[in-house]
C-alpha cells in the first residue's frame, strides 16, 4: 500500500515538473518577451528623449535582457532556421540556458523574483494565497453545509422540489461575473440598497484596529464576495448530491432500512449518503485548487488582491518567474487534489481498495 502511494506521489511530482517546464518554455517562445514590456512605450510623443531610433531601442532592449539573464538560450536545444534554404537544424546550447538556471534555482527553493517589481515570487504568491484562502475556505464550508441540507431535502421530493431545482438550474446557467455584478449593483448601490460596501475587504489589519473591529469589518466586507462565490458553486454541488441520493433511495437496500423502522433522514445519513457521495467527492476535490488559484472574477469585481489577479497581471506583463511560480503552485494543488480524491474514494467505497 505504502509503495503504491509513494509511486503516486512520484507520478504527481513528475506531472508538476512537466507542467511547469512546459509553461516555462512556451511562455519564453512567444512573440512578446519580458524585456519588451519593461521598455518605455514605443510610438508616444510624451518624452523628450525616448530611445527613438530602432538602434537605440534595440540597445536598450539588449541591456534589459542582459540584466535579467534573458539573453541566454531558452532551452538546451533550439530550432535554427537556415538562412539560405527552406529547412533548418537543431542546435545544442549546453547547460548555460534559462531553463537550466530556473530548474536549478527551483530545486533549491528559489522561485526567482518578479521582472517588474523584483519582489521574490514566493512572497507575492504567499501574500495572494493568504488573502484569498480564508475567504474561499469560509465560502466552501458554508456552501457544503447548505448544499448538504438542500440535497437532503430535495431527495425526499418535497412539493417545492421542482421549483427549487428550476431555480438552482437557472442559477447554474449564470456566469460568475453576472452573479457578482448583480449582487454589487443590487445590494451595494446607494441608488437601490446600500446594505453592503462595494469594496474594502482586508483594508485593515488586527494590529491596526484590534481583533474585534477587524473581525466585524472583515465579515461585513466579505459577505458579498462570499455569497457570489457560494451562489456560483452551490447549484452544481446540490443538484449532483440530490440526484445521487434519489438514486440511492430507489435501491432495494433502503427498503430494508425502512423496514427496520428508520426514518427517511436516518436512512439517508446512515445508508444512502456514503454511497451517494462518490461522484460528489470528485466534484469537491475539484474545488480545492480554487483555494489556491483564487477566483479572478470575484477578485476583479470586489477589488480583492488575490491569486487570480496576480496571475493575470503576470501574464499580461510577461512576468515569467511569477507566472511559472503561480502555475507550479496551482498545478501542485490540482494534482494533490486528485490524490486526495483517490484517497477519499477508497475510504468511501471499500470495493476500490
Amino acid at each position: 500500500m505504502a509503495k503504491q502511494w509513494l509511486w503516486r506521489l512520484v507520478q504527481t511530482a513528475a506531472g508538476i515538473w512537466l507542467l511547469a517546464s512546459l509553461v516555462f518554455v512556451l511562455s519564453h517562445l512567444g512573440p512578446v518577451q519580458g524585456a519588451d514590456v519593461l521598455l518605455p512605450t514605443a510610438g508616444d510623443l510624451n518624452t523628450a528623449a525616448t530611445p527613438g531610433s530602432f538602434a537605440q531601442r534595440e540597445a536598450t532592449r539588449r541591456a534589459v535582457q542582459r540584466r535579467l539573464g534573458l539573453d541566454q538560450p531558452v532551452f538546451y536545444v533550439s530550432w535554427q532556421s537556415a538562412t539560405d534554404t527552406a529547412g533548418g537544424y537543431w542546435r545544442w546550447h549546453g547547460l548555460p540556458n534559462q531553463y537550466h538556471s530556473w530548474l536549478l534555482r527551483t530545486v533549491h527553493g528559489d522561485w526567482g523574483t518578479s521582472l517588474s517589481s523584483r519582489e521574490p515570487v514566493t512572497t507575492q504568491l504567499w501574500q495572494a494565497v493568504v488573502y484569498t484562502f480564508p475567504l474561499v475556505v469560509i465560502t466552501l464550508l458554508f456552501t457544503l453545509l447548505l448544499a448538504w441540507q438542500l440535497a437532503e431535502q430535495l431527495a425526499a421530493r418535497p412539493w417545492w422540489q421542482p421549483l427549487m431545482q428550476t431555480a438552482l438550474t437557472g442559477l447554474q446557467a449564470l456566469p460568475l461575473f453576472a452573479i457578482a455584478l448583480a449582487l454589487l449593483l443590487l445590494l451595494a448601490n446607494p441608488e437601490v440598497v446600500a446594505w453592503f460596501p462595494p469594496y474594502g475587504l482586508g483594508q485593515t489589519t488586527p494590529t491596526d484596529v484590534g481583533w474585534g473591529p477587524w473581525l466585524s469589518s472583515y465579515a461585513y466586507h466579505a459577505i458579498l464576495p462570499a455569497v457570489s462565490l457560494m451562489l456560483s458553486v452551490l447549484p452544481a454541488v446540490t443538484l449532483q448530491l440530490a440526484g445521487a441520493l434519489r438514486n440511492e433511495l430507489a435501491q432495494p437496500y433502503t427498503a430494508t432500512a425502512y423496514a427496520k423502522g428508520l426514518s427517511q433522514p436516518q436512512v439517508i445519513r446512515r445508508h444512502a449518503l456514503r454511497n451517494a457521495l462518490l461522484p460528489s467527492l470528485t466534484q469537491l476535490t475539484d474545488l480545492l485548487p480554487t483555494l489556491v488559484a483564487g477566483t479572478l472574477v470575484v477578485e476583479v469585481v470586489f477589488a480583492l488582491p488575490g491569486m487570480g489577479r496576480l496571475l493575470v497581471q503576470a501574464a499580461t506583463t510577461r512576468d515569467y518567474p511569477l507566472l511559472v511560480g503561480g502555475v507550479l503552485l496551482i498545478g501542485t494543488a490540482r494534482l494533490l487534489a486528485l490524490l486526495l480524491a483517490d484517497a477519499l474514494y477508497k475510504w468511501a467505497d471499500p470495493r476500490i481498495r
Binding site: 508616444d44 510623443l45 523628450a48 537605440q56
Partner: protein
Amino acid sequence: MKHLFPLGLRLALMALGLVAGCTSQPPKELPVRVRWTRDPESLDPLFLANQYAIEAANLLHLSLLQVDFSKNDFSPALAEALPTVTLLGDSLTRLTYQLRKAAAWDNGQPITGHDVALTLKLMYCPGLPNESARAQAGFIRSVQVDSLNPKRFTLTCQGQAVEHMQASGDFFILPEAVLDPQHELRPTSLPELQKRIPTTPPDSALSRLARRYLAAVPMPGGPAAALGCGPYELVSWQKNQALRLRLKSRWWADQLPLRPFVLQARPQRLEFAIIPDDATAALALQHHDIDLYPQVSAAQFAQLRASKAARTQLAFYTAPSYDIVAAGFNTRRPALADGPTRRALSYLFDAAGLLQATQLGQGLRTVGLIHPNDQRNYNRGLKLLPFAPDTTALLLRQAGWQQTTPKGPWQRQSKAGPRQNLALRFRYRADDASFETIALQFRAAAASIGIAVELLPTEASALTPNLQAGDFDVYARLIKGNPFLFNFMPALHSSARGAGNFTGYGTPASDQLIEAIAAARRPVQKAKLLRQFQATLQADAPLVPLFFMATRLAASRQLRGLHISHLKPGYLITTTERKSTSSPTP
C-alpha cells in the same frame, strides 16, 4: 454531523452581530482617497512601470524641475530657478543649476550637486533597472559640481534642442549619503561610466552601490525606505490593494517663506485604492469609500451625472487631454505605399461620429498631432477630414485603383510588379471598446465601397510588437502626447522604423522637417515648422489623427482645493484637502 446546520446558522448570526458592531465604530479622520485601476508595480525611481508609479514617485521624490499645473509648464522644484543655458559650438549645451538653499534630506543634510551627480551615475550602474532612465538622460554627457558651492553644478548636454532644458531637470534626485556614504563613486566621472563596456564585470564600488540601492527601494509589504526628498513618505504598500502615504512631519520646503505651487503639500494622508472594475469604483465613490475617481470612462461619467443622488454628493470635472486617438497605415505595404491611396482611405474614418460614440462628444477633433487649443502651433489653415466614402472611391480611382465589378474588390497594376489588391487587415487593442468601435466603423464604411477589412483584435501587450513587426495594414491606438515637447522622432522619423514608427513612414523631406522642429530654438520658427509638418502629415496620411481625448474626473464634494489639469494624471492631489464639515456642499 447532524448538528452542523444549526452551527452554521449560529455562525451566520454571530457574523451579523459583528457587522452591527462594525457599524457602530466611531468615525476618524480620513485620508484623501483616490482610485487607481492597477498596482504601481514598482516604486523604484529608476524604473517606474506605469502612470501610477510615476504619480506615487512624484509625491515621494523631487526633481530639479517639476511640472507646474498652475502654469502648464516646468517650474523649479529642487532648483532655485530654471538653469542658465550656454550653447557650446554647434552641438553642445551647458546648463548651470543652483539648488535651493533650504533643500535638504530628511536627516537635515543639504541636497547638493553631488547627489545629482550620483543619481546620474546610478543610471550607468550595472545590475540596476536603469536602462530606460539611461536612455532618457543619455544626452547628459557630464556633470561638474562647483567645488566652492556644492549647491551649484553644471550639466553638459549633447545637442542643442530647446527641450534639453526641461529634460535635464526631469529625473528624481537620490541621496548620496544613503547610497554611497563613503563617496566611493566621486572619483569616477560620468563619461567614464558611460564609456564602460556593458559586459565588463562591475568593480566593487559599483557592486556596493547597486546592492545599497536595491536594498533601499521599497517593496510591497516591506519597510518604507527614506530615499526621497519629496513631501510624502510611504506608510504601507499592499500589492494590488492600496498604497498609503503620509506627509512628512519635517519637510525642508516647510521652511520656505513663500512656497511655490510645485512644492505645495496639503493633505496629511493619502490613500490610493486599487479598484480594477469601473462599476465598483463608481459605487465606492458614492459609498464614500473613495473621494476621487480620475479617468472616468465616458459612459460611466454620463451615468453618474444623470443620477440625482450622485449629483448631490459629487462634483464632476472635464479637461482636455493630450492623448490622441489615431489610426495609422502600414506604408511598407505596396498597396499603401503611396500617399494618394492612404489619403483616400482617410475619408473612411467618421471622426465626428466616433468621438460621439466612444467619448460622448467629449474631446476635440484635430487636423494633426498638435492640440487645437495650442493657438501658436496648431495649423488652422487645414480642414478637418470629413467622413466621405464617395470621396474615397473617387480618390482611389485617381490613385490608379479600379473595381472589377460595381461593388467588387479594388485592384491596380503596379508599375513594376504584380497586380495589387486593396484588402486590409485592421489591428487594435482587444480590451478597449473604443478601438473596436473605430475598427467596426472603418470596416462598415470600407465595405460600402467594396473594400474588405479583416479585424485583428490583439491583446494589449502584444499590440506594440505586432505593430513594430509591421503585421497590419491599418491600426488604431492611443498616442500619448505632451504640451511641452514636439519630438516626433520616436513616432514618425525613418530611423525609428521597427521601433516607434509603426507606419514605416519617412521621406528625406519629412525626416528633415522633424529634425528641424527638434532643433528649432525660436518659438516663431518652431511654430512655422510645426504648421508645415501638420500639412505634410495630412497630405501624406501615414497617420490619421482622429481626435484628442478629454480627461473626466468625479470627486466627492467633501474635497476642496482640487486642481484639475489636462496633464497626467488629470488632477493635482497635493493641493487637495478634506473639508472640515461633514455635510456635503450642494
